[in-house]
Amino acid sequence: METRLSGRVWKFGDDISTDHIIAGRYLGSMESNVLAEHAMENVDPNFSKKVKPGDIVVARANFGCGSSREQAPIALQALGISCVIADTFARIFYRNSINIGFLVIECPGLRDRVEEGDAITVDVSAGHVVLPSGETLAFPPYPPNILAILEAGGLVSKVRADLAGRVT
């Protein structure tokens, strides 16, 4: 697991639903690059063209609300988004993200302390975000069971390891 990452900020508001992240009309596709192309299309039709690998999505409350569609975090991950930081997440989106090894971080208040395009650094081990001013904003650490899934690289690897009786 990458524990320190830097990227440009893309800002979103409250209640960004799975319908915003990847619309129902694309769910027939099993290919992650097709999903990536249409990520966030219902908010910004050109989002996928503007994003660079490593960019960071920053939002307010209830990010990923709505459907259980795992295509939502898959689309963002395949687009090269390195992590989503929000005040709070909807639970299924949060679990789905962790399960595919995609970083999601609850850091209340960050959304209002950054501007679109700002370069920020996330330090997962230290549990803080470094703002452009050099100030840091702390976030609560992952509980051990979630950290174990992320460290294994996702739930499939974690379950495989557990079944094989190895310590991860």
């Binding site: 209640d15 639903s17 319908d19 915003h20 619309a23 129902g24 009309r25 769910l27 027939g28 596709s29 099993m30 299309e41 219902n42 908010v43 409350a61 209830n62 609300c65 709505g66 459907s67 259980s68 569609r69 795992e70 295509q71 709070t88 909807a90 639970r91 299924i92 679990r95 789905n96 399960n99 595919i100 509980p143 069971n145 996702g154 739930l155 499939v156 379950v159 495989r160 079944l163």
Partner: protein, 415 residues
């Protein structure tokens, strides 16, 4: 209730909110999301599903398949079920929207831990079960192990009293509740419904309540199991599985919402959030292009009867399309038998076989830009039913049908 069920599922004396438990899954149910779970399941490498007798599979999002891509998806699901010996696989023709199918076939029982790969799995909680939704990778893990980690949620109590106005029901009540809590007011929490109004609701109405706890952000939504639950289970051939499940009289809740619905009339969730709810008086006269009665939320036989009660002998308004899509093929057959299908067709509505299709903008009734739809479904975020420029109002089947007749949002009580 959540703590009791999760204690049993994790083999513990008792559990408390915040604790992380490994739950043994009593029922795992799946729709097309299974197609996405097959690869991670194979990667886990166990070969066989932990217990095929505890799995239920159907196809519901795109039925019958509208294109080759979906046909291939269905094919992979079919082959997986056959190879794994999953006998409760309900293929096209025998299908239904999964949440409806699992209750009407008697697969969900009080006190069980029920996991489904869809956000509206909460609906099964109306049977007195703990029912929560997951995604594809986690579905693969449950298929392999039969277990799922869960953080024991805090519980919220929604206490509802009062007698509703005419042609006003559970949909109007749950919209009022969502307005009160917000669309994330129950995030990570379990919601329990209590009170005289709730106890008087038949099962079909109770399903609407638990179903839309998803739109409160809830992990699970549940009702105590009682005589109504028992009778329902007997009707679907699972009477032996009844057991009473309720919270203790001294149970602690994080918060209690007391909601008085005495004399309350129809409610409507306005674009673009299910919590943007207004009494119907505030939106009467809003022009519509499409009216849809369908989805796991409100397309049971009672909803179709309500729709037919309004449409009977009338024609829907010019320049309005109406689509009626039952929640299962069982309901479809019943609607034909009772003559409801004839009423829909004679009024100018389209009556389709069961699918989730229009509710999530998949097929069979997708909205164009600028179109306005009134719908008996559950979500109205931008782009939910098609174009992000379309607008969706959520309401009861009564309100949807009345609006279809007049081409604008209409109070069904005046008809």
């Amino acid at each position: 209730m959540a703590e009791k069920i999760l204690a049993r599922a994790s083999g513990s004396e008792s559990v408390r909110p915040g604790q992380i438990v490994d739950g043994q899954v009593d029922l795992l149910y799946m729709h097309e999301m299974l197609a996405l779970a097959i690869k991670p399941f194979e990667e886990i490498g166990v070969g066989k599903v932990w217990d095929p007798a505890k799995c239920v599979v159907t196809v519901d999002h795109w039925v019958p398949p509208p294109n080759e891509q979906i046909a291939r998806m269905h094919q992979s699901i079919r082959e997986f079920c056959w190879a794994q010996g999953i006998e409760r696989f309900h293929d096209v023709g025998d299908h239904g929207i999964i949440h409806q199918l699992v209750v009407e076939r008697g697969y969900v029982h009080p006190g069980e831990l029920v996991i489904g790969c869809d956000s509206h799995t909460n609906m099964a909680g109306a049977m007195g079960a703990f029912a929560a939704g997951i995604g594809a990778t986690e579905t693969a893990a449950v298929l392999a192990t039969g277990k799922l980690w869960l953080k024991v949620p805090e519980s919220l109590r929604v206490q509802v009293r009062g007698t509703l106005s005419r042609r006003t029901g559970a949909k109007d009540v749950i919209l009022k509740v969502i307005q009160t809590t917000g669309d994330d007011g129950a995030a990570y929490k379990a919601v329990e419904f209590h009170g005289a109004t709730i106890q008087a609701f038949p099962m079909n109405e109770r399903f609407v309540l638990s179903n839309m706890t998803t739109e409160m952000g809830a992990k699970a939504g549940m009702l105590p199991s009682d005589d109504t639950t028992r009778t329902y289970l007997e009707e679907v051939g699972a009477g032996d599985a009844f057991r009473p499940v309720d919270s203790d009289p001294n149970a602690r809740f994080l918060k209690t919402y007391d909601i008085d619905v005495d004399g309350m009339g129809p409610q409507v969730a306005c674009p673009n959030n299910p919590a943007n709810v207004k009494p119907i008086e505030d939106v009467i006269g809003t022009k519509i292009d499409m009216a849809f009665v369908g989805s796991c939320t409100n397309a049971r036989i009672q909803d179709l009867r309500a729709t037919a009660e309004i449409l009977k002998g009338e024609m829907i308004a010019p320049r309005v399309r109406m689509i009626v899509t039952p929640a299962s093929q069982g309901i479809y057959r019943q609607a034909v038998k009772e003559g409801l299908a004839q009423i829909f067709l004679e009024s100018g509505a389209t009556f389709t076989s069961s699918t989730c299709g229009p509710c999530f903008g998949g097929h069979m009734g997708v909205l164009a830009p600028k179109e306005v739809c009134i719908s008996s479904t559950n979500r109205n975020y931008p782009g939910r039913m098609g174009s992000p420029e379309a607008q969706v109002y959520l309401a009861s089947p009564y309100t949807v049908a009345a609006s279809a007749l007049y081409g604008e949002i209409t109070d069904p009580r005046g008809l």
